[in-house]
Symmetry: C2
Subunit: 237 residues, 2 copies
């Protein structure tokens, strides 16, 4: 197989049901329209996204390959092989692909095979939250999900707060949206009064809500109920 | 002053002279068109960007406020005050504002004054490089610039490599473009053969060049001359 001229496009999606025009460049749609092989997390939501992009007539031409946390590593080269010498798209379920989802393995394999990787611009909740936080964007870490068990979570929060203090490194993390309120409580309980906390919820949606305050002020004025609302948290001591 | 309905829009720019359509949502232009108060790093490049957006006729209406590394902290509330009760825009010189530039201080002050902060989508070289690297996007750190002195830089590289190994945390960093070749050499010299290195240069430009390989392969097949070409580096041991 000659991969010399093959390309893998990394295609962002919206964060939730936001309209497309405010968050996706027009150029993305044109590239998406040109692709017949798409690696997606869930075919159903991928189809829905294509319809929202006005690409309904393309649907029957497209080969979908499913990639999720259950996909075995050895299946990935097979997907790439099955597409022959055609270009591929890796479409995110929400936001940008290959950052907080299983897509990175496809990208890794593409590099191994000498396929050109082309990332497209779209909404990254991590970067949007960081921009809007006013916290240190010159040095930051994204830590994914915190532990679920409350004493482990408390330990991790104190570890991250300490590191943010010694390294001046903003610490970004997320939580399954139905546990947001517990996480907020744990932050207000475990962090020092002067530590700044940014909560960025429902980014790019009409209900977008972003505030940065010291913990001492959050204690006096807690956030609204954020249960089941996707949110990004950032602390800096 | 009543800031209750005031908004601060965070407005990305292109990375270098790329066309706008592939990297900026159409919605950004409409917001930019509605703003008469812009905080910018350099008025000259900001004006040029507005012209590229087709907003030439707006130029004479716009109040520009200059924000760079020499701006004293106390000047920031004055800019916000001078704009009266109008909405504000914080326009980046390249990429997204308030991440690797001095804009975060304006955002911080906006939160302090209760002004709503609205981040817009655009090209972040950090996120584009991370997406395209195939390295761990679930856990990563952005470290800004490495030290300039060669022994300090070597020490920092080894520290970051070690941390990437123990914490499975991708380590992202940048260099002043005219020192890229020295940084590449230092990475090939100081990292272990199995450590993976991604070099992502000229992101979103026609000359975009992105490769991820283990150090041992980079040693056999070094990158092209990247002198004066903006690049993002990522390592993961």
């Amino acid at each position: 197989m000659n991969n010399r001229n093959r390309r893998l496009f990394l295609i962002p999606s919206t964060l939730g049901d936001s309209p497309l025009e405010p968050v996706l460049p027009q150029g993305n749609r044109d590239i998406l329209e040109s692709l017949n092989h798409l690696i997606v997390e869930e075919e159903k939501t991928a189809r829905r996204f294509l319809v929202r992009c006005g690409l309904k007539s393309n649907l029957e031409l497209i080969h979908f390959y499913s990639l999720n946390e259950h996909t075995a590593d050895k299946e990935i080269p097979l997907m790439i092989k099955e597409a022959g010498d055609a270009d591929l798209g890796l479409l995110s379920e929400a936001g940008v692909p290959a950052v907080a989802d299983p897509g990175a393995k496809v990208v890794e394999e593409a590099h191994r095979q000498g396929i050109q990787v082309i990332p497209l611009v779209g909404p990254s909740s991590i970067i949007l939250a960081l921009m809007a936080s006013g916290l240190n964007g010159q040095c930051f870490a994204f830590n994914g999900y915190l532990p679920v068990k409350s004493h482990e979570r408390a330990g991790k929060i104190r570890f991250l707060e300490k590191r943010s203090e010694t390294e001046k490194q903003s610490q970004v993390f997320i939580e399954a949206p139905y546990r947001n309120n517990q996480l907020t409580e744990a932050l207000l309980e475990n962090c020092k009064p002067g530590t700044r906390l940014c909560i960025a919820a429902n980014l790019t949606l009409p209900s977008e809500w972003i505030k940065t305050r010291p913990i001492r002020e959050w204690r006096l004025q807690p956030p609204p109920d954020l249960n089941r609302q996707p949110a990004v948290y950032i602390i800096l001591a």
